[in-house]
């Protein structure tokens, strides 16, 4: 399980594959609706300062999610 980190820990500009989403049903469903789910490759666009939102790109979709949500998404860097 090495190299698995949360979206918060992933550095800006890096690409990674989503390995698990340890959130409630609500979070999984909302991300799923946007096509963001386990197995998908994402790119981290930016991290907010002072626990601000994390912006990620998945395919042609760009989404900003709260810091707390980003902590629950675990990825493996590629």
């Amino acid at each position: 399980m090495d190299n698995i980190k949360s979206l918060v820990q992933l550095s800006q500009g890096k690409k990674a594959i989503i390995k698990s989403i340890n959130g409630g049903h609500g979070l999984i469903q909302r991300l799923d609706a946007l096509g963001i789910r386990v197995g998908k490759e994402i790119e981290k666009v930016s991290t907010g300062i002072a626990h601000g939102p994390v912006v990620l790109r998945c395919g042609n979709t760009e989404v900003a999610i709260g810091f707390g949500m980003a902590q629950k998404v675990f990825v493996k860097e590629v």
């Binding site: 800006q12 609500g26 469903q29 909302r30 799923d32 609706a33 946007l34 096509g35 789910r37 666009v45 930016s46 991290t47 907010g48 300062i49 002072a50 626990h51 601000g52 939102p53 912006v55 395919g59 042609n60 979709t61 760009e62 989404v63 900003a64 999610i65 709260g66 810091f67 707390g68 949500m69």
Partner: protein
């Protein structure tokens, strides 16, 4: 027959709606512009059909209030037009497949077709049509391309018989995409680079500050120029002589004369002080306020259509969290600067009752609408930066401090931000003009009757002695706490109807700078105008609105008295 327009947020459903029905609705480049449904009609083969613009939804398993509305409306629809963003087909098909399961006649509108081809995305729409067993029409709704073909499919549409296992939806979508879509790899475009630098905090925060500063400078510049070079010359040089003649015809006095023209000052009309329907009653909304409203909506509409606003929401998210809100709550605040009514409606994009209560309260207390701002600028502008600076800085502090307090006091949860960031787009000019025009029309229709009513009431109340009476009973508060002459109480009373007229009532009182500042701040804060008030009752419910109103009254008295105490040096 009921035709529903459904699709993901920000795919251009409202533009398609506009094209189909000719009904004007506001569309922008950010998710959630349509917060309730709009109805229109279309005539096909001499039969009228109802068309409904449904709020955007990513899925039929709703995650917020606007999505709930969308799903509920699905039951009533007879035909569904699924508007799809061609630049993002894979994600959009998720909703499409869920809609297919509804077993209703379905037509797919592949919108933003031109943008997709520009960005190197090629979709084989014939193949998609065969796979999904329903018509797929490439469209560019904003220019109207493809709309005719879309309409041609309406009467012959039928439910799709495409079958798939719902639990393997994404797998199914992957299969479809592999067969119909080819993406030519391309380099980062200019807009993508711009997107990245405007969302990374190090560059994004300075950009936000610059954009907001430019926004306000531009509004002030356009508004002032229009007033100085167009509206004031018109009223002074053309309208005033005409009205003076009319005044002579009416005999220069009497009840009708005073109601229509008002008092003449040294035999001349003073558009700020005469207070007749045809003088002050026209000048305030048209001559003083409209130029600023126009300027505001030019700049706002451009910002909306470019796609920049959701990025502002991301930048201010951390601050908004301290107020029990998240970044998206900046939208009601920004819209509120134009008019508090659309601001109040925009609180719907927030998920919980706590967020809606806090944002509605903060917006109506600390965000002065353009009409109010225009008159405040007119009154205080001549004192340079001091007066205006103190008024706006005070309102900002109230917004911040009250937010910090409400976050602790209001029960409920404040979820985190979750928003799709749209691609930047160059606003489509005719669309932009149309949107500004819709908003101006709305302003004139909503504002003029209330201004006229306000002017009539002011005249009646003065001649019946009601204003003097209110002044006497409220004197302890108005004179002692706020340090204003007791006649100013009349302005507070009229302010419920229309705040611009209320501030206008202060003109003849020859107030000092300090008094003008106190009065402007208190008038902005103490209570929403009647249009905002009724909207807020609908949005929050009566009980929450009463709570909110009590907060407003108390806060405005505290802040007004405080300013009266500490501004002794002015």
């Amino acid at each position: 027959m009921k035709i529903l327009l459904m699709g993901n947020p920000n795919v251009g459903k409202s533009v398609v709606f506009n094209r189909l029905t000719g009904v004007d609705v506001i569309s922008s480049n950010y998710p959630g512009t349509t917060i309730s449904f709009t109805k229109g009609s279309i005539s096909i083969d001499d039969k009228d059909h109802e068309v409904i613009d449904v709020p955007g939804t990513y899925t039929l398993e709703p995650t917020c209030k606007a999505e709930e509305i969308a799903v509920k409306m699905l039951d009533d629809g007879d035909i569904i037009i699924n508007v799809v963003d061609s630049t993002n087909l894979e994600r959009n098909l998720n909703l499409t497949l869920q809609l297919i399961k509804q077993k209703k006649p379905l037509i797919i509108c592949l919108n933003l077709w031109d943008e997709a081809s520009h960005t190197g995305i090629a979709i084989n729409e014939k193949k998609l049509e065969n796979l999904l067993n329903c018509p797929c029409v490439p469209c560019c709704a904003i220019t109207g391309q493809g709309i005719k073909e879309l309409v041609n499919h309406i009467s012959s549409s039928k439910p799709s018989n495409y079958y798939f296992d719902n639990s393997k939806r994404w797998y199914e979508i992957g299969n479809i995409i592999n067969q119909v879509q080819k993406i030519t790899h391309k380099h980062h475009t200019f807009f993508e680079t711009l997107s990245d630098i405007s969302i990374r905090p190090i560059t994004g925060i300075p950009i936000t500050i610059i954009v907001l500063f430019l926004t306000f400078s531009l509004i002030r510049f356009i508004g002032e120029s229009l007033i100085g070079y167009v509206f004031e010359p018109f009223f002074e040089n053309l309208w005033a002589p005409l009205i003076l003649k009319f005044s002579t015809i009416l005999g220069s006095k009497g009840f009708i004369h005073d109601l229509l023209i008002g008092k003449l000052l040294d035999g001349d009309i003073d558009f700020g002080q005469s207070f007749g329907l045809l003088t002050t009653g026209l000048f305030v909304p048209i001559g003083a306020v409209l130029p600023y409203v126009f300027a505001f909506y030019i700049v706002l509409s451009f910002l909306e259509d470019s796609g920049y606003l959701p990025r502002v929401a991301v930048m201010v998210d951390v601050i908004m969290h301290k107020l029990g809100l998240h970044g998206l709550a900046i939208m009601p605040m920004l819209l509120g600067f134009g008019c508090n009514v659309p601001g109040a409606l925009a609180t719907r994009i927030l998920e919980t009752r706590k967020e809606r209560f806090i944002s509605a309260t903060l917006m109506s207390i600390a965000v002065p609408c353009m009409a109010l701002q225009a008159i405040i600028i007119g009154l205080l502008g001549k004192y340079g930066f001091t007066g205006l600076g103190i008024v706006f800085f005070t309102l900002f502090l109230v917004w911040l401090i009250l937010g910090l307090i409400l976050r602790k006091l209001v029960k409920g949860t404040s979820p985190e931000i979750f928003i799709e960031i749209p691609h930047y787009r160059i606003p489509y000019f005719p669309g932009l003009l149309k949107k500004i025009w819709i908003r101006l029309k709305w302003f004139i229709k909503e504002a003029l009757p209330f201004v006229f009513l306000g002017v009539i009431l002011v005249n009646l109340m003065y001649s019946l002695g009601i204003i003097q009476f209110i002044g006497n009973i409220t004197a302890p508060v108005v004179s002692i706490l706020l340090g204003l002459p007791k006649e100013a109480a009349g302005a507070l009373f009229i302010g419920f109807l229309r705040k611009d007229i209320a501030v206008g009532m202060l003109v003849p009182l020859s107030l000092s700078l300090k008094q003008l500042i106190v009065a402007s701040v208190v008038l902005s804060m103490y209570f929403p105008c009647v249009a905002t008030f009724t909207t807020l009752i609908k949005e929050l419910g009566i009980i929450d609105m009463l709570k909110s109103a009590i907060i407003m009254i108390i806060t405005s008295l505290i802040v007004g008295s405080f300013l009266n105490l500490i501004l002794f040096f002015l």
